[in-house]
Symmetry: C2
Subunit: 240 residues, 2 copies
DNA sequence: GAACCTGATTAACCTATGTGAATCGGTCTT
DNA sequence: AAGACCGATTCACATAGGTTAATCAGGTTC
């Protein structure tokens, strides 16, 4: 039977050992499911949070703005992610979470979460681990944005999304939906929209990747991951 | 009386509420103090860790390398930081920690740390919070490296170091030691050595900042923090 | 089905930053 | 004190990627 938090269970299982009793505890969490349209904010920079959210279906993006209005997308969050789990201990958030596509989320009150974690120290460790994996991705992205070419960054992003979606069982083929615009890609990779377009065309004409109207198809995984210097170790997946 | 872990106590107090019983527990942790020369590695990418380290004195840097050998410095860690606390739950580290200057560190076994945290859930939360603050810095740096000009990034780095050193009581004036080379700065900010040099000169001739032979002096804090778009909120300091 | 959007694409041009290489100035070594 | 380094600095030149703006294509609205 499909329950909303199934995706969270799958996500946690992908990064660590999830005991049956933990699974039970998670399923007993009171949640409130809600629906976001593209562009809606789930969390806004500066807000003081009393709850956090699980992506049930769709895609959220975490981003931050400079004074001049330019936007850096920090991460994409497909189903299973808890993109604002940090708010449990950093109540005032310093980023904005918006829906990249129409998205369903489940919100969990911090107090309920905390009660559960106090009861299960091992589960605390697993959630802690989740925030650490989240942080580990930033290390890699900082390196890429600071040092890698536009082509390498673009390649890496698609490799990462593929691997993450596969690890939680959302997809099982090299062709998968990734409903972002070229402008989103540009803002995520720290490049201009025009250059994002140029870069995608280079990858396409090199026969590595096709991306059009929200659909990605990886044509040559070995060469794409080579170009993107993609080594999945930083995702700290459990099954390896 | 000066004890090695005093700096850790000060650091934790700077980001949250540290109860007296926690302080006692921390002071009872068995530690092994050791000395690093400039360039020595405390932790190497790929290592499986059974312990983590506290910087007692000096400066460590966390960095990662690309295949072509280029290096991205991800963060600097002055006294009080536990730069590899993540290893508690991500045993295999995906970065290297090296001494930027001669540095004293104290190592703590994971098992001792874990025993302490199991006994004090509130302290677990505080250490968890520390790793989250660490991660929050990366969000900001990703935005800066992706979107900000070389000048803004350089300005921001000095603002951050000043604020962090001040918050743990290591310094109390706008003139402070920051023993890095221009090459370190370049690798931290994702720019070439030559451009780091140019940028420092611009900041100097604008009367904002002097940096020479490991000594920084902020001449005009209002304008420097304005230029660097520095808002200390992302450091999540307790006293605000 | 005309007007409108939003996102993709192209072109022409511009600039911030990178590269390579030479010079300079301390400081450590022998 | 003569090398030998390492880091800082300068210069000349190269280029990845940014900017602006125009056009195109598909979908939506009334």
């Amino acid at each position: 039977m499909q329950e909303p938090l199934d995706v969270l269970i799958a996500k946690l299982a992908s990064i660590g050992r999830l005991l049956p009793e933990y699974e039970t505890a998670i399923r007993q969490l009171p949640i409130r499911v809600s629906q976001l349209d593209r562009g809606d904010d789930a969390v806004m920079e500066g807000q003081i949070m009393g709850h956090c959210c699980v992506v049930i279906e769709g895609l959220l993006q975490r981003h931050k703005h400079m004074q001049d209005g330019s936007r850096q997308i920090l991460s994409f969050h497909p189903a299973g992610d808890i993109p604002d789990l940090q708010s449990l201990h950093l109540r005032k958030v310093d980023y904005t979470l918006s829906a990249t596509t129409p998205t369903t989320i489940a919100t969990i009150r911090h107090s309920d979460m905390q009660a559960m974690l106090r009861k299960h120290p091992g589960l605390t460790d697993l959630f802690w681990r989740d925030t650490l994996v989240d942080a580990a991705k930033f290390l890699t992205w900082m390196m890429l944005i600071g040092q890698a070419s536009a082509e390498a960054r673009m390649a890496h992003l698609f490799c990462e999304m593929f691997m993450r979606l596969k690890s939680v069982g959302t997809i099982d083929s090299f062709e998968f939906p990734f409903k972002v615009t070229q402008s989103d890609l540009a803002d995520a990779l720290g490049m201009s929209i025009v250059h994002a377009n140029r870069t995608l065309q280079e990858l396409r004409s090199a026969g590595l990747l096709i991306f059009a109207s929200g659909q990605a198809e990886i044509l040559d995984w070995p060469r794409l991951s080579e170009l993107g210097q993609f080594d999945p170790a930083y995702l700290h997946l459990a099954d390896e």
